[in-house]
Subunit: 354 residues, 4 copies
Amino acid sequence: MLVVMKAQATEEEVRAVCESIESLGYRAHPIPGAQRTAIGITGNKSPMEPGSLEEMPGVQDVIYVTKPYKLVSRDVKEEDTVVRFSGSDGSFGSHDLGIVAGPCSIESREQAFTVAERVARAGARFFRGGAYKPRTSPYAFQGLGEEGLKIMAEIRERFALRIITEAIDNESLDLVAEYADVIQIGARNMQNFSLLKKAGRMRKPVLLKRGMSATLEEFLMAAEYILSEGNYQVILCERGVRTFADHTRNTLDLSIVPAVQRLSHLPIVVDPSHGTGKRNKVLPLSLAAVAVGADGLMVEVHHDPDHALSDGAQSIYPDQFDELMSEIRQIAAILHRNVQEPPRVQTAAVKAGG
Amino acid sequence: MLVVMKAQATEEEVRAVCESIESLGYRAHPIPGAQRTAIGITGNKSPMEPGSLEEMPGVQDVIYVTKPYKLVSRDVKEEDTVVRFSGSDGSFGSHDLGIVAGPCSIESREQAFTVAERVARAGARFFRGGAYKPRTSPYAFQGLGEEGLKIMAEIRERFALRIITEAIDNESLDLVAEYADVIQIGARNMQNFSLLKKAGRMRKPVLLKRGMSATLEEFLMAAEYILSEGNYQVILCERGVRTFADHTRNTLDLSIVPAVQRLSHLPIVVDPSHGTGKRNKVLPLSLAAVAVGADGLMVEVHHDPDHALSDGAQSIYPDQFDELMSEIRQIAAILHRNVQEPPRVQTAAVKAGG
Amino acid sequence: MLVVMKAQATEEEVRAVCESIESLGYRAHPIPGAQRTAIGITGNKSPMEPGSLEEMPGVQDVIYVTKPYKLVSRDVKEEDTVVRFSGSDGSFGSHDLGIVAGPCSIESREQAFTVAERVARAGARFFRGGAYKPRTSPYAFQGLGEEGLKIMAEIRERFALRIITEAIDNESLDLVAEYADVIQIGARNMQNFSLLKKAGRMRKPVLLKRGMSATLEEFLMAAEYILSEGNYQVILCERGVRTFADHTRNTLDLSIVPAVQRLSHLPIVVDPSHGTGKRNKVLPLSLAAVAVGADGLMVEVHHDPDHALSDGAQSIYPDQFDELMSEIRQIAAILHRNVQEPPRVQTAAVKAGG
Amino acid sequence: MLVVMKAQATEEEVRAVCESIESLGYRAHPIPGAQRTAIGITGNKSPMEPGSLEEMPGVQDVIYVTKPYKLVSRDVKEEDTVVRFSGSDGSFGSHDLGIVAGPCSIESREQAFTVAERVARAGARFFRGGAYKPRTSPYAFQGLGEEGLKIMAEIRERFALRIITEAIDNESLDLVAEYADVIQIGARNMQNFSLLKKAGRMRKPVLLKRGMSATLEEFLMAAEYILSEGNYQVILCERGVRTFADHTRNTLDLSIVPAVQRLSHLPIVVDPSHGTGKRNKVLPLSLAAVAVGADGLMVEVHHDPDHALSDGAQSIYPDQFDELMSEIRQIAAILHRNVQEPPRVQTAAVKAGG
């Protein structure tokens, strides 16, 4: 921390601030400048917060310096974290991009299988689908619950896709951890610390979405909650933030990708479906996300979005997903990264089965 | 809903959109204009969302018209909701303002009693204090838990103050509902729909804080979750929203007070402590909140904020709270409202006891 | 400035940063902490900006400390600036609030006189009206230009009102400075530095509106441009900022009033008409603005807003303005400030004349 | 426009609103729905704004439908506008991307030539450099003025680069139009309508930057000002918007690229330097901008950013620009677009000369 004194602050005022700092158990380092004095503070340790310095006579401003995250930081672990899955070549944070696709909600076995077959055939290794849906309105479709989870467990077996699905409370978290391969924590729950802690005690990787108005620091601190409970398998996900701009549902903040990669060893993927809310913007923003260096994508795909029970307007058609995979494969290559080809054997099995 | 066609849209395109609307079970009402045609849609009913109209040929824009909230709306109930408490003259939404004061966190029995004695003596009828604290950092003080709730239950008996405290998950909600008079749902949990539904099944009033980037519609829809489960005793609370402005911790949006009062029958109070994050701004913004017509205030008070375990920088001193009460009493009178005087008998008892 | 080093930064890296700082002509002050080293920088002087420190090995972050404004700051002048007008008892920054009222645009002599007569009778000392209108659309009414200025000059003589009107470029600034008493610089021009400098060379006070997304620092720096040219008569005006919130046209940020008053000696008024964009919110937010401590108000009043050529939806009726004046008079009294009574003689003259 | 009535609105109230609409010269189209009635309004024509409908009894909401821009819209001109330059193969909006590079400010002839030689050699066809700098602080370097323009005119001759530079007021606009090939209007002046109109009367193309908090509609309306004066050669430029996010100087909103392309025929380029404010983010965001489909880039390049007089922290080194050109060339190819190769003859001349 740094205390900036006013230009007219007296020596007594500077001394009083230093004494107050020392009385709280820190060390004060006055730095006299041409115009004013600043006072560095070292030895920060929780839980004390020297919150009243700003109100002392002669004080202009108090500036926080030390970043509060630890385990998520490259200060603690310099090399990239790679989230891998036994018996699968899908991963997040490796040379290969992690491509996640599927419908917003699992609506029926038929719908889910139809979409899963197409995304697997296009080369995705991860299937997304909501069983528990956090909806703005209590009157909107809330998801199939455990039935949806069971359908996805079948999809894993049938199409060799790893399953990512959202847990919205402690109850659903137990079930999601049982059926799925990756536990998703949604944007609205990014600061549901109780849920984060419980997810941190699970043995499954967690995909954590950025909150709608979360700063980079808050986003990393939310991940820190999970790591601090012992679960180091965290994948971050940018999904757009809330701004004044009204031409998209959210404003996709692609600059957070290199910003995260600079500070943290955790992988970060991008969700252009929620990030834009409009089908015709999913493809261009997907290409941009790969070009900016994201470790993967999370895309909503639906074979009949007109009749989707949620998020129809932002779901792309399977044919559009084929095109997307083809284009990001080329862009990834330029960045010396890779989008995996469809698994040959699996595709054959699917064709036989479907 | 309203579909706006492009200027060059052909008659066929207009007809195709109308047919698509009707095929989804709605009625289409084309409105030919000088420049372009618009198509009104009636008969909206969940769960279908005609999400793909925007992608049809000739379509310029799709505009949502019908507000999705029902029970919170003055459409359903025109007269103001008043939240009352048996055996107490404190209330929210009546002629009397509901004044809530207390420390951010319950740190100890002594600290809580010291603050409670002062806020009761100044005329507050409601005591706030955190037992479960949603902290950005996992390493920050997380609250005393049930021990904190017990201290507050004692405070209710001793100072005749009604207790408001936050529940952060389903587990703490059960305990809060047992010990407290009002269940607080914090800003970070405004869209924790699982928690909202459970709070909707409780028999205690709920104080719901606006999320950091919640629109008016989302705020009312979150309340709708509580009402839709049968709990009509909801108090809304504005606590500042996240913007680019950096001179305060959040930007207090006082205009939402008349906006809520126009659309909804629910009472709305203002929290200038979180709304500004700075002690020297709590008093002026409290006066402004009363002047704008809020149904009450929620203010952090601490007798020793330098050593507070959380939010010290935004807690005011008891003497400042006395001044605040005196000034808002005068402003309330101008608006033909009332801030209650300290209860005479109670104050005497306190003095004898303390 | 302060450079924060990474936890793993080596001594060589710290030394290299210090040398780079010194090579630019500054002094470096290393502060070793428990976790990491910070380096204070003193001797900041323009125009050099050590912009590349952040890219040096071992550097975590660079934090700017010194505020760049000087003349607007209480560091330079501690006592409040009061803007007064010879031969008038209206002022900004004194014990008396400066109340500015009038139509958005001057549409005709008759319209302007009708409104002026009413706002003068209610006690306003300042009349606002647009002659040059910065409109989002080139097809919207752009103002009467010099004809509008002449009408306002007549109003000054007839009703003893001081005239405030906007200049939108260097050409209109010359005319506004000739006809008006206060030159208004609008929100869209807050960083039109060419216009600010020219206004700084005028002998008339300047009312400077906050830009739609201006930080406090940028707002004060825009004022600094005017003062730096020799014009110290600047009145700041909060008029709402742009956020995600959609229930008002802008989000009125009342907390900037005490924030400005803490840092600067300049008076600050509030415009609740643009700040909300809705007539039914102008009255409550006006009361709030006075309660928060603003030095005045700027309100749009129109006798026939349905037929106004601009901003009809946010203009209040003259009767509502009477009510507003009555209520803010009472609130001002609580804060030991004053809203002036209507001038007796003037009112009589008006009645005789009108 | 559309008026949405309250659920309880009476038939009389609906009728009164319709009559009010018709009395203003429009046609009213009531649409009775299951829950409430909506009223479509056609025949909108300026300058009347039916601003008071929202205040009438029974009215819930008023929704604006018709977009106010005309000339910039694909409604008026479906095919893309291409801005070309006689005697040059550089362009904006064609198959070829328009790549603009150069220092933030022209600081000296030597500095400008050094940078120009490098960006020309890398294949850029456009050189940017500030002669008039809109700086937040009046004490910061304000540019070399006409001397800077003359240096850039020399650069045009020497390196066959087209010159883009900012005009900040009517005076500098005349000079910029004389010396440069493209007139830049900066973000702070996006709603300086006086300047836009004057730029609209020039015979040179205009590059218009998005304002810091401009919506898509406002951005297009600002361009409309230029077109409405007869200048159809407008290039739009996204340069980041202001949000709560603090890890970059602005939040680059790449989704506006496809959004503009859907509504308007004008070309749009992206400025990742101002859009991020950090050198280490310019390269990844440049790749993303090309991938999202932008018609070009505008990048700050400086051979010695440590000693730059402005924006050093966000300027990339010439070697980084070489790398950038190489990578965007590959990405453009995937999108079936092109980044031009360095002109062979010109490069030879440069080498001989430099």
